[in-house]
């Protein structure tokens, strides 16, 4: 019998909005110290597959909702030949929602957002890296194998319902009958970064590597968190590279996904995140304001982040998500019509109201035996037409990688960001990219 799973509340959005310009595939990668061995990688995937069977699925259309169905096709690791985070054509027998890629020392996993979020992907990546290191040690006939620790999912265990539960339903406090929702005024449209569409629609990647510990210390010295500091720097970079030279009045909005598992005790591998929008309007700054601009941004961003990530505000986000899920009329609308409305709503109220996404996925905390194999990690977010520049941050072994993904040719905002980061922190920063043409 074929196993199937309903898609969680947040994941329902992505099949409707995904297209060639907005793939909804994100990537978690690890750059190892040695080149990837294809056979070991394949064996790793075959070994972890039974434990993470709820990721090895295909997207199917139901009458009212999409659902996920167990995919019995083989999942083969492939050498990377296409640009990162490319779109997939759903409905094909061989269309997977998870891809395993390798090139040189890089081991990448690309996941469709309907099956998991950043935290779920990190837990999966940890299990993959640990298993990879065990198989590599076995093949090398090493006497000491990497020791599994509690922080790694035991791949010998069997999946339980909690692994793929829709935690939004569990923690929602919305009244199922009344479904009252506080209707707030929609925020105004945000500033958008525009540019020349990338050749071949290929996603460009520019990654910067910096010491996590030292950056953390620096952010603390400013009285904020790493996410708060990076979001402020991002806003300031957009200002320095673009807004300073224009008469633009719209606010810069940085969308920050927040892992809800920290505030609500859930162990699900499915989506369980909320997005908070940090906004800063340059038109409201008084000219006689004596404080340096960056300090003003930093103060505002830190305050907003602190306020928006309070439990009561995150609870409201959960309730808001579940409201549309539980809406009695909406549930009976056929899927095809739902797709049209969801896409329209996403373009009008989602994409238009954010400038850039900054996702700090946290740390890939590996056992020491595995950690010594890994040089650093990478996280890549898919860009879209309206938000052609996104940023994701991930940390492995004290090496924090800040990766920008772009669907435009211009690199001015990214350059400005890294120059400011280097200037302000004075830390060692190394940058690399997948851009293969000289004209950037």
């Amino acid at each position: 019998m074929i196993t199937w799973y309903s898609i969680d509340t947040a994941g329902k959005l992505f099949p409707s909005v995904s297209s060639n310009n907005n793939s909804s595939f994100f990537r978690i990668a690890a750059v190892l110290k040695e080149p990837i061995n294809q056979d070991i990688f394949q064996e790793t995937i075959d070994r972890v597959r039974p434990r993470f069977s709820f990721f090895f699925v295909r997207l199917r259309r139901g009458t009212f909702w999409n659902y996920l169905e167990e995919n019995n096709e083989p999942f083969l690791v492939q050498q990377e030949t296409d640009c990162p985070c490319t779109a997939s054509q759903f409905g094909r027998h061989d269309s997977h929602l998870i891809r395993f890629l390798y090139f040189g020392n890089r081991l990448s996993i690309e996941l469709f957002h309907s099956i998991t979020d950043g935290r779920g992907a990190i837990e999966f990546m940890k299990a993959v890296l640990f298993t990879y290191s065990v198989i590599a040690a076995e093949r090398n006939c090493d006497k000491v194998l990497p020791v599994p620790e509690e922080k790694i999912v035991n791949i010998q265990s069997t999946p339980v319902i909690d692994d793929y539960e829709n935690s939004f339903l569990r923690f929602a406090k919305i009244n199922k009958k009344g479904s009252k929702l506080e209707i707030r005024k929609f925020p105004p449209a945000s500033y958008h970064i525009e540019g020349t569409p990338a050749a071949q629609k290929c996603v460009g990647v520019i990654t910067g590597l910096i010491s996590s510990e030292q950056l953390n210390r620096y952010a603390k010295s400013l009285g904020t968190t790493v996410t708060g500091y990076l979001a402020s720097l991002l806003i300031y970079s957009i200002y320095s590279a673009r807004i300073k030279f224009s008469t633009e009045k719209k606010p810069v909005v940085v969308s920050v996904p927040v892992n809800l598992r920290r505030r609500f005790p859930s162990v699900t591998f499915r989506n369980f995140f909320a997005v908070v929008n940090i906004s800063f309007s340059f038109s409201t700054i008084e000219s006689e304001n004596s404080a340096p601009l960056f300090d003003t941004i930093l103060e505002s961003v830190s305050q907003q982040l602190e306020h928006l990530t309070r439990k009561e505000n995150l609870q409201r986000e959960i309730d808001k998500n579940i409201f549309f899920d539980k809406n009695r009329i909406g549930r009976w609308v056929p899927l095809r019509i739902k797709h049209l409305f969801v896409r329209l709503g996403f373009n009008l109220f989602g994409e238009v109201r954010r400038t850039i996404t900054l996702s700090n996925m946290g740390e890939i905390d590996l056992p020491s035996g595995t950690a010594q194999l890994v040089d650093h990690g990478e996280a890549l977010l898919y860009p879209s037409l309206k938000c052609p520049l996104n940023c994701a941050v991930i940390t492995v072994n004290d090496s924090m990688s800040i990766s920008f993904t772009k669907a435009i040719e211009e690199t001015d905002v990214i350059r400005s960001f890294f120059l400011l980061l280097k200037q302000q922190t004075n830390l060692q920063l190394q940058v690399y990219s997948n851009i293969s043409r000289e004209k950037v």
Binding site: Y67, D82, K201, W332
Partner: protein
């Protein structure tokens, strides 16, 4: 190496800075560790995507035939008051969609059949409307299409027992289609009612057989397809 313009250390085997595009020189004093890290961080040279010229050419031809026929029809409308161009447009788009449906790897066979059904039905309706609207499309042709699609799905389900539940979802959809045709046949403008009623009866018998021969998974199959 360090980009002289940005002042940032760049890990690359290429001769330009990814941030500013400026030419940079590989220095011999770059440490082995740095060179090793640059090699580890490299990406592949992506293969160029080839545009689907055949598909574009077929679509372009379809559009050309449609526009030209519309134009000629407009010029000759005074001599011949017949909108034959609409017929041509429907027919060429029907052919285009048929080619697209059966050459595409995207759809499942049930989905292909249903998409084909809807395009065939729209062509029949257009012909019916242009030839005097006697509702033969609704009363005769479309009900027989419905019988045809149910039969094909039944045969497929019987031959491919492994995917029995997969087809049952589509067969249930075919049943609802015949219900819609039955409701349409109740309107007075449909004079010949028996084909729609026969299609309905055939669908009822098929669904009855479906439940009779189904395994326990059928309930689960219907649950996931009609998940609320």
């Amino acid at each position: 190496m360090i980009c002289p313009s940005c002042g940032i250390e760049i890990l690359t085997g290429k001769s330009f800075c990814p941030l500013c595009g400026m030419h940079i020189k590989h220095l011999s004093e770059d440490s082995a560790e740095l060179r090793e890290r640059a090699t580890a961080c490299r990406y592949p040279e992506y293969k160029e995507k080839k545009p689907d010229t055949v598909k574009t050419a077929v679509f372009f031809s379809t559009c050309v035939v449609s526009i030209v026929s519309l134009f000629i029809n407009y010029l000759t409308f005074a001599q011949n008051h017949f909108l034959w161009s609409l017929l041509v447009i429907s027919a060429v788009f029907f052919i285009y969609k048929t080619i697209f449906i059966w050459t595409s790897r995207v759809y499942y066979i049930g989905a292909k059949l249903f998409t084909q059904f809807f395009w065939s039905a729209q062509l029949m309706i257009v012909i019916d409307v242009l030839t005097g609207l006697s509702f033969w499309s609704f009363s005769l042709v479309i009900p027989w299409f419905s019988v045809g699609i149910t039969t094909i799905l039944t045969v497929l389900a019987a031959c491919n027992h492994k995917n029995y539940e997969e087809y049952t979802g589509y067969m249930t959809a075919a049943f609802f289609l015949s219900v819609v045709l039955f409701i349409i046949s109740l309107f007075p403008f449909i004079r010949t009612k028996w084909p729609s009623w026969a299609a309905m009866l055939y669908a009822i018998l098929t669904v009855f057989a479906l439940f009779l021969f189904s395994r326990r998974q059928l309930k689960e199959e219907l649950k996931k397809r009609f998940l609320l």
